[in-house]
Symmetry: C2
């Protein structure tokens, strides 16, 4: 279990969540607990991009545009639009020639992660990615505990299937700590997840058996 | 020149361009000439996805959201938003484990393709992708001629550099036919570009020297 770093201490900051359009839509407040998961992931990806370590971007929020005005001498203004459900995951890109695809979700729950955080088409998309030889995973944060885990697509599919077969609609905290890989939070980058990917690429079927 | 198929005949259709939100913003009319390049590419990617051949999606149009209303008992309505410049290319995904990244552009010009169709950050993004081991390219259509070409990132970078060094601001039709790979248009899929990718993956430095 090389990536279950000891001590899940998070980097905290009082910097306000500016420049995040989504924060206007779904206000997320963690008081002094620091950044949202999305901000941490974006910050980390920017760090990776600036160092030439990986090229991973967040996709724009899908919007259904209904009405656009064209005022004279100024830019087009969207006057009516609606949020659309995404048909894929939020993040994708390339790392050491490998296609990387993931979703980042946080929960305030302390004991479990609700699977309703995903949509069926996102699960299907991740399966398609894996079948095509890409690497699909999710980053899950228990925000109250300040703990973030990288969870391989195979684990997500297993838990999703369990739900579809009538089992529980969530994944317990213990299951995630057992199958997921703890991501140490730091200053730069805030959420250094590439070392875990390196392990997966070296040992594609790594299952942390040593713990079982 | 294994992919310069003879006869650049296009599939034409009178089906109206429905379900394409962008067509409301920038109306594109080709009369009886058939679909826009974007529609052809999306249709082709849907075909690839449904057959399990590749997982390639168009990214949503980036929008800067300024004001959102939350009417009671109904969905949130975006009341003010603006189009943002994309920071990456429009399409990416995974094909046979390889990361694929591209932009699709069409011109009504008959003799050249203006490089102002790209933004500097799109060129930089394609360079970052190539440096990380991904495959970046563009699909260029001369809509008046009904001819579509797959052009490798290396060719685009070369022409872009020429412009930056004071050279011409466009690429001649002859240059594109020489360095690009003609994509045969058909019914299903409409724009079968994967066979060209296969050649590139087999021979990464393929330069069509035989023609020179």
């Amino acid at each position: 279990m090389p990536f279950n770093y000891p001590g899940g201490k998070s980097f905290t900051s009082n910097k306000p969540a500016t420049n995040n359009k989504l924060s206007k839509i779904k206000p997320v407040s963690y008081g002094k607990r620091g950044m949202t998961l999305e901000e941490d992931v974006n910050d980390t990806n920017n760090y990776y991009l600036s160092r030439g370590l990986a090229v991973i971007h967040k996709k724009p929020t899908p919007v259904q545009i209904v009405q656009v005005d064209y005022p004279k001498r100024s830019a087009a203004v969207i006057k009516e639009a609606y949020f659309k459900q995404a048909s894929t995951t939020d993040y994708n890109g390339v790392y050491k020639s490998h296609y990387i695809d993931f979703e980042a979700k946080e929960t305030k729950n302390k004991t479990s992660f609700p699977l309703q955080n995903f949509h069926l088409h996102q699960i299907n998309h991740m399966k398609q990615v894996m079948e095509q030889g890409g690497l699909a995973f999710v980053i899950i944060r228990f925000s109250t505990k300040e703990e973030t885990y990288l969870v391989h697509g195979h684990s997500i599919f297993k838990w999703w299937n369990r739900m579809e077969c009538g089992g529980r609609k969530s994944v317990t905290y213990e299951e995630i700590t057992k199958e997921g890989y703890f991501i140490k939070t730091g200053l730069t980058p805030r959420l250094h997840y590439l070392p875990i990917i390196d392990q997966w690429l070296l040992q594609p079927v790594l299952q942390k058996e040593s713990e079982e």
